[in-house]
């Protein structure tokens, strides 16, 4: 049987997990395995690492032999805007404070939800930022900076 990529998703995810398994074994190589009666810190990582390597190799193989259906095209905008939202929050919160951070994160996620641009694009994040600051700083007294200082 000729090998060809019949299910790219399986081949990609399998390869990724293969890398995960191999790096688990590589970076865990200095952890003491111990013995069955005295399991060291390296016991579990190694057992699980081998499991992942073997099983993900099977997934790659499956991708080479069984044709899979390709799901609808990947939508990059929702993915990026939501995955990057916590990162944006992490970058902004210390220097800019909660108000601006909440405004910015809300706007970033909103981009993924609608293409519509009106007064709401400014008003909605503004109201949310006010509400969030009132709840977390005013009501709950969380140690978050309101603005930069």
């Amino acid at each position: 049987m000729k090998l060809a990529i019949r299910n790219p998703l399986d081949v990609m995810s399998g390869s990724f997990l293969l890398i995960v398994g191999i790096s688990a074994l590589y970076f865990g190589k200095d952890l003491n395995f111990g013995s069955m009666a005295r399991m060291g810190p390296g016991f579990m990582p190694r057992v699980v690492g081998v499991c992942i390597v073997v099983l993900s190799a099977l997934v790659v193989l499956r991708g080479l032999r069984v044709t899979g259906e390709m799901p609808p095209s990947f939508q990059l905008v929702p993915f990026l805007s939501i995955v990057l939202a916590p990162v944006l929050f992490a970058i902004l919160i210390k220097p800019a404070g909660l108000f601006i951070t909440a405004f910015a994160v809300f706007s970033l996620v909103r981009v993924a939800c609608t293409k519509q641009f009106s007064v709401e694009a400014f008003l909605a994040p503004f109201i949310l930022a006010v509400v969030v600051c009132a709840i977390f700083i005013g009501l709950l007294g969380q140690p978050l900076p309101l603005f930069w200082y």
Binding site: G28, L31, V59, F79, Q142
Partner: protein
């Protein structure tokens, strides 16, 4: 028996303190809300609230989370009946006859039957929890590391076997979860595992980032990618009359009672018990009915039975958590995580060391179920209007709350980065056909699995087969192996695919 009665009274004194009542109400309202909104489940909501709950008392936070969990069951039946959209997998069955009743102008009665069946089931199931948790916990006090290890293996295997999609994929995800659970300081030896010298990693990845990323944020991405499904709304039903007729009561009550016992039984089982229970009840009601032709056309039994089964199963899935410290489903697994965050070591000892937590939670379930009927029936109009809140406001607000929640938990930006990473993992793996639930369960159970295996091996001096020499662990491990072997059977595979397809 008197002790159970005394314990319940003690539980009620905990549950009716104003703070606990307030959080039970918050949980029930939030649960109803997310249940009504399609796309956001109780798993996502509880994972997002984990960060806030750690600032509450242990009982209070568990009471709130439990309220969300069973509140979502009530809420999702509203959307199922009025809009024919199942809020979660378990309410697929509610759509069948509930929506047909609504079509025939009996929407109010359908909602009332669903809520009252759930109430009946909730109260009976809570009594079952109160009756069965203490003896099981007492029995489990004799359990040792081998028994716990086997029970956790069973929990993981059941999750893998009953998850949607390929068993191989689910297995890898579970292993990946266990591996992620290894990150941090090894409790036994103090060795640093995969911390790469990063101080923040030495305490391990927080379960909040894992759960919130995998279920909260990635669910939003998936919802957005699938397009807006909420637009198909038909709200011309009138709520003139909520109270069901005598004939409907006569048909519904026995069905609800049967559903309660089916659900109570299935809910205790690890894996897909709760999701299966409404389907099981529906099939039994149709078989028992004198007029099976009415099913799918608005049969009262076909609504009352599955609704009761669903709620009963949601309640009794707390029994393994409270008695053994073993999660029966992913939501319960998160509550287990919440207990650990609160410094409670889950297991049969919780009944002895923290009785106020266990009995307060049980008592709050009575109160919560009553609250839910009041929240759901007279205020139904409010919830229906909630369906009109546009996603472009709802989703950004949820993401902002998630970020603040996780940041205030530790004040560390590392947790935010971990959150982003797990959101990405959740979306990409979901797309590639890998479910995140086994990963979460592996992550939560992994460290306990390791600890118990280690202790079991110390006891038996490294003899792996000693696990099969103790009757309980041998039985439990055999069941796990049988379950795994079953997945190789062609007929079981077919059933599994059919079930996944109906999801």
């Amino acid at each position: 028996m008197t002790s159970i009665f005394d314990s319940l009274i003690m539980g009620f004194t905990v549950a009716i303190t104003p703070v606990n009542l307030l959080y039970a109400l918050i949980g029930c309202v939030l649960g109803t809300m997310i249940g009504v909104l399609p796309g956001i489940g109780s798993l996502a909501t509880i994972s997002m609230l984990l960060s806030f709950s750690s600032q509450l008392d242990a009982v209070t936070s568990l009471i709130m989370m439990a309220g969300i969990f069973y509140g979502a069951q009530y809420g999702s039946s509203t959307t199922a009946i009025l809009c024919n959209i199942p809020g979660d997998a378990a309410s697929v069955v509610t759509c069948l006859d509930g929506h047909q009743m609504a079509r025939k102008g009996r929407a109010g009665q359908a909602l009332a039957i669903a809520a009252l069946s759930s109430l009946l089931a909730g109260i009976i199931a809570t009594i079952i929890i109160g009756l069965f948790t203490p003896p099981i916990a007492r029995f489990a006090l004799n359990f040792n590391a081998p028994e716990y290890f086997s029970l956790m293996v069973l929990g993981l295997v059941a999750c893998v076997v009953f998850s949607n999609g390929s068993v191989l994929n689910a297995f890898i995800m579970a292993a990946f979860g266990v591996l992620l659970g290894c990150i941090g300081t090894d409790v036994e030896t103090g060795a640093q595992r995969y911390t790469f010298g990063v101080l923040q990693l030495s305490e391990g990845i927080t379960i909040v980032a894992v759960a919130m990323g995998l279920f909260g944020l990635s669910e939003i991405v998936v919802n957005l990618a699938n397009g807006n499904k909420m637009s198909v709304l038909d709200l011309k039903y009138k709520m003139r009359d909520l109270w069901p007729s005598k004939a409907e009561f006569r048909a519904g009550t026995p069905a609800a009672l049967r559903g309660t016992f089916i659900g109570a039984l299935l809910g205790i089982l690890p894996g897909a018990g709760q999701v299966l229970s409404p389907f099981a009840s529906y099939m039994i009601e149709r078989r028992l009915s004198k007029k099976p032709g009415q099913f799918g056309e608005g049969a009262v039994e076909g609504l009352a039975g599955p609704e009761a089964a669903n709620n009963a199963a949601a309640q009794t899935s707390f029994i393994p958590l409270l008695a053994l410290g073993i999660p029966a489903n992913p939501v319960i697994a998160l509550m287990l995580g919440a207990m650990v965050i609160q410094g409670i070591q889950p297991g049969p000892n919780v009944m002895v060391t923290r009785p106020e937590v266990v009995w307060g939670l049980i008592a709050s379930m009575f109160i919560g179920n009553l609250m839910l009927v009041i929240i759901n029936l007279p205020m139904i109009g409010v919830w229906v209007r909630l369906l009109a809140v546009p996603q472009r406001i709802l989703f950004p607000a949820i993401v902002v709350f998630c970020c603040i929640g996780i940041y205030t938990l530790s004040g560390s930006v590392y947790d935010l980065v971990a959150l982003a990473a797990f959101a990405a993992i959740g979306v990409l793996f979901y797309r590639a056909g890998f479910q995140a639930i086994p990963l979460l369960l592996g992550f939560i159970l992994g460290p306990m699995l390791e600890e118990n295996l280690r202790r079991a091996m110390v006891i038996s001096q490294g003899d792996l087969f000693s696990l099969f020499q103790r009757p309980i662990s041998a039985t439990v491990l055999s069941i796990s192996i049988l379950l795994l072997l079953m997945t190789a059977l062609p007929s079981f595979r077919k059933q599994r695919e059919n079930f996944a397809g109906s999801d």
